[in-house]
């Protein structure tokens, strides 16, 4: 049984009075621990696919689609169930980092643990802060814990975002153009950091990119074209 299985994913956005189909029937299987790169041009539906796999969005109701995580169907989860799923099983990494500008580096990482623990956070506070500090130390930011995101470089911000994605020990990391906003050298270091994390945490990684040179570092590459997965050549 695949770790993640997506069947017949369709997604249409409505822009004003116009329906814009973004995904037109995507079938995808990902094995546990695999690093999958989703390659595609801008507007091909890569990010949408990532959002659907991470439970941040739901596929169209018609035709029937299914997303299974270790055999568990996401479409059967309530809104609250999906929230819990995102908090506990998935770590998102975005192209523009998406950090909270008012929070310190440490708090930007810890906040994800707070969201997951909810009212019982007080009982795990010490462990959460220690793990956040350890992750940031691994990311080379041990001396930057009290800094604000505005005081960091792009690469440092992305490492904070990766640490935040990892704080809850997710089973899968969903990275949306993680190096898209960085220069080539910094992007390469981020990818190396991500590979190291994946090896240490044994996390499944789905990475969306438009850059074939980045995609080729993955275990497997699939290409999205016009809302559908292209057949491998």
């Amino acid at each position: 049984m695949p770790f993640i299985e997506a069947v017949n994913l369709h997604k249409t956005y409505r822009l004003g009075r116009v329906d814009v189909p973004v995904l037109r029937g995507v079938d995808l299987s990902i094995e546990k621990g695999e690093c999958l790169a989703v390659l595609g041009a801008s507007g091909s539906g890569k990010s949408t696919l990532l959002h659907l796999l991470g439970g941040l969005d739901r596929p169209d109701r018609e035709p029937t689609a299914r997303i299974l995580h270790e055999g568990r169907a996401l479409d059967g989860l309530s809104a609250r169930g999906l929230d819990d799923f995102r908090a506990g099983h998935v770590g998102f990494i975005f192209q523009f980092y998406h950090l909270f500008p008012e929070l310190t580096v440490l708090d930007n990482v810890v906040i994800a643990a707070m969201v997951r623990a909810g009212a019982s956070y007080a009982s795990v506070r010490a462990q959460a802060r220690a793990r956040a500090a350890a992750l940031l130390d691994t990311a080379g930011l041990g001396h930057r814990l009290r800094h604000r995101p505005s005081e960091l470089s792009g690469g440092e911000r992305q490492r904070v975002a990766i640490a935040r994605a990892l704080i809850n020990r997710p089973e899968v990391l969903l990275a949306d153009e993680p190096t898209g906003n960085l220069d080539r050298a910094t992007g390469r270091r981020i990818l190396e950091f991500l590979e190291g994390v994946r090896a240490r945490e044994r996390t499944t990684v789905v990475m969306v990119t438009h850059d074939p040179s980045i995609a080729e570092r993955a275990d497997r590459v699939v290409t999205l074209e016009d809302g559908r997965l292209a057949r491998p050549a």
């Binding site: 929230d83 995102r86 998102f92 975005f94 929070l103 708090d107 906040i111 994800a112 969201v115 956070y121």
Partner: protein, 555 residues
């Protein structure tokens, strides 16, 4: 937990929420100051009556009624009554040194019994005091000075006894101890009131001497033992002017002055010793001829009689049927054991007084006015007003129109100010709406890391609540400081800006009354917080309903 973290960070890093807190502060302070000043005004208005007439007054026009001693004895036996005192109230003119004449309400009292009912000893102004008034921060009050202690102590005793002892300064003595007069502190206008300290400094009026010259009256505290002349109109027990339309004129030495804080009372009242006023108004005990029924000719007062032994004619007084006409008073004032502030109810006491008076009237049938009946109003028994019966009224009854107007005005002003304060709700709404727009992407991040819609909404509600807490707390603090210093602030505004909002002649009291009632403060505080949460509600719902994917792509 993350809501608390974000709220704390947002609060300390944004100017807009601080402005919102400031708006809430101003609104809560405005409402609380208004409530405290107007509520304090009403409270002082209600409680001031206790210092003027006790809790309940039994009155019968200006003619008065007899056997007041018996009524007072009966009243003082009742467990709800602390004390009762007789009083005569009449209208007259006062001629002051310097040739000024003013209309005045003249009240005849026994100092000691009047003190038990109204706390008169405390209202007497010229007495040694141990600590300065709250506004007298520099201790300029002459009553504080040690060298005046003996004189002021004597003046206080004289004021309470309503009798003039030798002039404490000159040592000049009267032929006999003389009944004196105690004037309202604003009546003579000899004393100059200092606006800053709220104290009075004796002035030095120019008076006309016996030989027609003008001279400056020298006295420590004016017009100590300087005489004033009271002109009054005596009425007989049937209400007819005695001695035609000639007014009775009596001179009284001024033994002290009083200050109730009620400007109208302090401006227009003179207290005179009861028995001397009774004599002046011919309301004292006397023997008098029984009036004949209407139409029957009265026998001549004198007739010529021939002495049977000598045969000489002589003039003799005709034998008349005489009766003892007891002394009369116009009022009996009653003080309750429990003050209204301690849960006492003057209206309940009025019913008790009516009950006692009804028994008293039965026992003195035909000699005293009848007792009033009772009516049911709003499920409670109340005393019915009747022209044929004595009036038994509380202070609130006597000033019903004015006090009701004040109560309604408080409600109206609070409604208007609360309505104005609702602008704070819209202000918070506008600020939060803009902040939610600005933070759209952060809402998306929160949803991406697993925050629920409710959790996101709670971020903004908690944020609104904290702004409300901070703003309301600051508002309460500001209001408390302002209320406690409202009179110095008012005086400063008057001196610096020429703005005098409080006119004692309009508002009765010479100082702005204000007191922060903890319950009112709590209501305003909760209202301030609730307003902010309410203002944050719609933006919070907007944030909660955001599509996380669109929120993440927001630019």
């Amino acid at each position: 937990m993350y809501q608390a973290l974000l709220t704390r960070r947002y609060l300390s890093s944004k100017v807009m929420p601080l402005l919102a807190s400031l708006a809430v502060m101003l609104c809560t302070a405005m409402v609380l100051i208004t409530w405290s000043v107007m509520g304090g005004f009403l409270e002082r208005l209600l409680s001031a009556g206790r210092n003027v007439m006790g809790d309940v007054a039994v009155s019968w026009g200006t003619i008065g009624f007899a056997h007041a001693d018996d009524l007072i004895a009966r009243l003082e036996k009742h467990p709800d009554v602390a004390a009762a005192a007789p009083m005569i109230e009449t209208f007259g003119l006062i001629s002051l040194p310097g040739g000024r004449t003013e209309p005045v309400i003249i009240k005849g009292i026994e100092g000691s019994s009047f003190d038990r009912v109204t706390g008169f000893a405390e209202a007497l102004w010229w007495k040694p005091v141990a600590k300065p008034l709250a506004s007298d921060q520099e201790g300029v009050d002459i009553r504080l000075r040690d060298e005046n202690r003996r004189v002021l102590g004597r003046m206080h005793a004289d004021g309470l006894a309503m009798m003039a002892s030798p002039d404490p300064v000159s040592g000049r003595d009267w032929p006999d101890p003389r009944p004196g007069v105690v004037l309202g502190i604003e009546l003579s206008r000899y004393n100059i009131r200092d606006g800053d300290s709220g104290t009075y400094t004796p002035g030095a009026p120019i008076v006309k001497t016996a030989d027609g010259r003008s001279d400056v009256q020298r006295s420590l505290i004016l017009p100590v033992n300087g005489e004033v002349v009271l002109n009054m109109m005596p009425l007989d027990s049937s209400g007819r002017p005695l001695g035609g339309l000639d007014a009775v004129t009596r001179a009284f030495p001024v033994v002290n002055e009083f200050r109730t804080g009620l400007y109208e009372i302090d401006k227009g009242t003179a207290y005179v010793e009861l028995s001397s006023l009774q004599r002046a108004l011919r309301m004292d005990a006397a023997r008098r001829i029984v009036p004949r029924p209407q139409g029957e000719r009265a026998a001549p007062a004198f007739r010529i009689e021939t002495d049977p032994s000598t045969g000489e004619e002589r003039i003799v007084r005709t034998e008349q049927e005489m009766i003892d006409d007891p002394a009369r008073v116009t009022h009996v004032l009653v003080r309750a054991k429990r003050a209204p502030a301690e849960g006492g109810d003057p209206r309940a006491l009025a019913l008790v007084v009516r009950q006692v008076y009804a028994q008293f009237a039965d026992d003195h049938a035909g000699k005293v006015p009848a007792a009033p009946g009772t009516v049911l109003a709003g499920g409670h028994a109340r005393i019915a007003e009747s022209g044929n019966a004595v009036a038994i009224r509380t202070w609130e009854d006597q000033n019903r129109t004015f006090i009701s107007a004040v109560k309604k005005e408080i409600g109206l002003v609070l409604f208007v100010f609360t309505f104005i304060s609702i602008t704070a709700v819209f202000l918070v709404l506008a600020i939060f709406w803009s902040m939610v727009s600005e933070k759209t992407r952060e809402v998306g991040i929160l949803r991406a890391i697993g925050a629920s819609r409710r959790g996101v909404a709670f971020v903004w509600l908690a944020y609104g609540g904290v702004i409300g807490l901070v703003g309301s707390a600051l508002g309460l603090a500001a209001a408390t400081v302002i209320i406690r210093n409202i009179n110095p602030i008012h005086d400063w505004m008057g001196k610096t800006l020429g703005l005098y909002a409080w006119d004692p002649q309009v508002y009765y009291f010479s100082e702005i009354p204000s007191r922060v009632v903890p319950l009112h403060a709590a209501i305003v505080f909760v209202g301030g917080v609730a307003s902010c949460v309410l203002g944050a509600l719609i933006p919070a719902m907007r944030a909660a309903r955001m599509d996380p994917v669109r929120a993440l792509r927001w630019e």
